[in-house]
Amino acid sequence: MATSSVSKVSGRRGCVSGYAVDVPLAHSAPPPPAQLRPLPLPPALDGFFLSLCPRLVASSLAEGAEGWGSQGCFVFKPDFKRKKISFPIADYFNEGESLSEDSKLRFDTCQLLWQQMKSEAEELQEELNKNLFDKLIEFLEKSHLEFRKKSTNWNYQIKSREIPTAALVLGVNVTDHDLTFKGLTAMLRDTITPYVVSLQAKECPDVKHLLQKLASQVMGCHIDMESTEEEEEECVQLSQKKMHYSMAFLSTWYRNVTQKKGSESVNKKITSSSQWKKSPPIVIILKDIESFSTKVLQDFIIISSQYLHQLPIVLVLGIATSPIIIHRLLPHAVSFLCIELLQSLSCKEHLAKLLDKLLLTTRFPFKLNEKALQVLINIFLYHDFSVQNFIKGLQLAILEHFYSQPLSILCCDLPEVKRRIHSLSEDQCESIRRLPSFMRYVEKQTPEKQVASLTNERFLKEQTMRFLEELHIYHENFFIVLKCLHAFTSSLPKYPLGRQIRELYCACLEKNIWESQEYEPALQLLRMLAKDELMAILHKCVEVFRSSPGKQLGSTAEKLKEFLAQFQSLEETESNEEENGSGSQQKGLQKTDLYHLQKSLLEMKELRSSNKKQTKFEVQRDKVVDMIDNLVRKYLFPPDTQTLYEVVYFTGAHTLREHLNAAPRIALHTALNNPYHYLKNQALKSEDDSIPNVAPDICIAYKLHLECSRLINVVDWSEAFATVVTAAEETDPNSTASEEIKEIIHARFIRAVSELELLGFIKPTKQKTDHVARLTWGGC
């Protein structure tokens, strides 16, 4: 009872005061009179109450928690007198078995890899945001120029009614916005002004709250900046008074602070433009402009525009939809804004860059197989466009890979692999031998070698090392060629091999790309490229080679450069030729009439087709295309052809889908309709997808209710249920002695019905007596 007596306080308070706080949204049925029951008991009455409710007592005692049922929250604290044993997370990694050195190493590798990938992703995000932020800073510097000069001319006074506003169009992936804003706030604090306020719609139901938040955040920043004690005290006093915040108050405060600052030495952090030092602007970030109510925004903007000559306010609006929303939200107040539109990078490009940094590189050994990657990409494309969620999926994939694949211990850098291979245990060697890809390899070997690799541990380790090195080289080449191929095919009309590199990558992971239907047409299109296009592509390819660290395809790079040089020289000679050629042709065509013209054209056509004389450029172009074709055939075969690919490729696509993109309704439906799917009992098995009458009660009740339309008569339902259940128990339904059994069956029916109600299939209705309403449709 010790715990419950401690916990009671919270439960009671919550109940008494909680009614008004939380009104349930869905199922708008008025709260039943039974709402009274939650009011819990004073401690003294506890025993009394429990004696009245033996059922609850029974269940609560069984579960070892006292007072169950009289309140909702139970706090459990471990005994702190006993020394707290801190469990490292790694303990959970190995299914709770005693922690072996191996699994600890595996977990550490996993964590290290994830941290590296995460920081890489963060860096990328920063880099991508930089462009946007630079523009924003530029905009901030332009705004409030006059304010800083303290100009008093009339023109300025008029103009100063307009609040400088930056509208950031960030796209629909709302979940990614938080990071952007976080970065933005930090950056602004560091470079421009300490007074950065970020507001969310849910914090500001009305203007009063908005101003309160605004003032407290602005002054809060101030406290952070100043370290002198007296100042702090003053500020604390201010906030303790819980004063009435208003713009006027804020502006006097601002004047005080800036004047004081003017004399003092200014914070060292802010280094940019010196004019800001005297009067740093107040940047107000409204994170989700769409969720703000029109009235609040409108009032706030009108108020702040009045104070604009005292407070240098700058607004930053985060927009998820389109800039039109500003006009729709603020039909009147928009004239007080001086808006500058800034666009962030689209989430698709962000994803492409992310893939390039994290997966299409040999920096990180971990890879996803085709299906797993497809799952993550599908979630991205069809559900949320959120890069953050993609990264989360990647994290889960890494975790699952290291958790489920014991050989993932070798999924690390090459030098590290060497060390680890030496210390491989016998079990681990055995699991290498059991890998399908390794078995495939062994089968192809000569008998002596087969024996050696299956029995000789040292030989096996050498082989493993060799394979992993080969895998590394394979990846190096794979990504270079993939990027080159993408450079070639991404600009083709209709994008036969996909527009984004991820599509091409998925196709290459799946099977030999050159065997796909789209490959041949793509090559044919390539053979028709114009020279300038081709040269641009070649430049790109050379760039790819230059940026990649590996030196595997050195000769190809040389070859590419050669081609480029040849094309350039061709250009010069050809330009001369073209001039000559065109000149002569024009001469020939000038004098003819229509008939002659057609005739001569026909002749020319024949001449060309018979000769089929290719220009030098065409010959070169074919050579380039052939070269690419060869490269593709040589290097772009899918990873599952590689021996030991299982070590680095994550293959559990279904786990990803199950845990990230679950379908609770379908699971419920399956459980209700086909219990055999979960309970492997032959009695429940049915060939034709119906359910037998021995199925769990709720399944039978569910099945019967499917036969009804909007309303269900409970009596009919109950009788139908009883018919089924009695048949299952093979008792004589006519015997009167079984009154008790009937009662039990009725009770079971009641339980099944209330469970269906809990699950949301039915609800009580007052349309007709003893009826319930169905909440789903169809089913029969």
């Binding site: 009274l36 609850l56 706090v75 609770p664 119906s690 499917l706």
Partner: protein, 592 residues
Amino acid sequence: MSGVQSRVSPSPWVTSRATLVASWLRTRAVLREWTLPPTLKFSGLGRFGEVLGAQCLAPRETLIVMSHLKQQKVKMLEVQFVGDDDVLNHILDKEEEYLKNGCVASGGNKVYSFQTRKKPEKMAELAYEIAKTSGKSVPLICKNTEKMASTPQSSKKQSTSEKDQLKSDEKNEFLSTPYRLRKRLTAVSTFPSDTESEYSDSNSEDDKGIKQEEEKISEVLMDQKRLTKHSSLSSSSCKKVSAKKMKKDTTTDLVEEYFEAHSSSKVLTSDRTLQKLKRTKLDQQTLHNLLSKFSPPFSAELKQLNEQYERLFHKWMLQLHLGFNIVLYGLGSKKELLEKFRASMLQDSVHVVINGFFPGITVKSILNSITEEILEHMGTFRSVLDQLDWIINRFKDDSSLELFLLIHNLDSQMLRGDKSQQILGQLSSLPKIYLIASIDHINAPLMWDHSKQSLYNWLWYETTTYRPYTEETSYENSLLVQQCGTLALSSLIHVFRSLTPNARGIFRLLIKYQLENEENPSYIGLSFQDFYQQCREAFLVNSDLTLRAQLTEFRDHKLLRTKKGTDGVEYLLIPIDTGTLSDFLEKEDKEA
């Protein structure tokens, strides 16, 4: 080809034919198009004949139509040329409607699709057939649930779209129609006219409505008969519909069927009530006693299933520590499973168990237990948001703090509100707060939009346990379960004790009056004026304002309900059953 749009004056023949067609189609949209305007739009005579013939008419009848139309054509006043596209669209529209109605005729057996059929007798029949074949599966249901059965497979591959299912649907529609028809015929014959009175319209007890309904059904039957004769013909016409068009149809189908299901106010169900059956409502106690006598089957399989989930505990701990939160879904109570998880994994860490199904739970009480008991803060907070901010700051400052939250039924009535979810989401997004929760409602995932989902950072785990929702439903006031009143009594006592002596007296007066009128069936409450008079006489109040103030307090605690009578006078009623009230009085008297 260009179609001819002809304007024909309505002839008696056309209208009668049209009503027949319309009654079969049963779609008001079609009705409008075929009968209401005086102009009949035919697009291309040949095509029209084909469509019409394919839809409902015997070949001979088609011929008649066509010849008739030819005659009409001679007298035609206007001939309009319309584009091929219009013609095609028109034909496709027709076929669409046809197909849709085909769906309806065979029951529209989609997972949660809409349905329009009224068949009160269906359930009993099904039950009878399930029962008949004991221990064996029943082939009957398979017809009804072909669609349903296909979902288990699709649960694996969710994306193997509806298109395939639709195609298969299309095929067996025509196969099952004759069967359906037989069912219908027998159904009607087994319920002769004298039992008709058993069935009444649910919304208006209108005999006329029933008759119309019956007529409608018989008409439908006739048409269905005709349809089955020519089912081969119709299926051939169906194939002409391009796949693309079909895809479009499914959405419009769903939408239209929804409105059809909800616009028709007549739902035919039997009038029987529980009272006639002499099945009294059980209270929680007897219900529980009865159920304890029944041992659920398949315990071995259930155990196996649960062991399978228990093996995941370590993985859950790992994933919780790595920043994910875990949500469990699937049929069956997950309380025991979570309890086991708590017992085996959380013994050495601070954790809070939250019973979401408890009717008095609020976010505030959850936050209170965190601030007061875990962070040991004794102050109060102005608002829930302030409290949340405070907690977040504490957790940020003190990195040694760790907290596990176990929430049973995160989707319960009290917690499913937007604000509650937002706050819980923000709590769970803290790196040192680990949340593991269960959901049961079919629409539970609708609580979370993208931003909330990213706050929660869920990993979903399916844990279908088939365990009865004993605790969860014990608070639900099901219509079949009589309120035992014990909880009401305890809360009544609790509130009563916090009142001033005068207020207690007032309330006692009201209780007594209500108990006196226990037997009176037309008792609607004590009128305010009478009550005031009584209170004055007992020296409990001195003005009606003070009385009103007291009543407001009762009302806030839901101990009182006021109702305007027909004479405009306010009547006061205690919404608690008499048994509980008399228990309460007895107890109070004893105490005093």
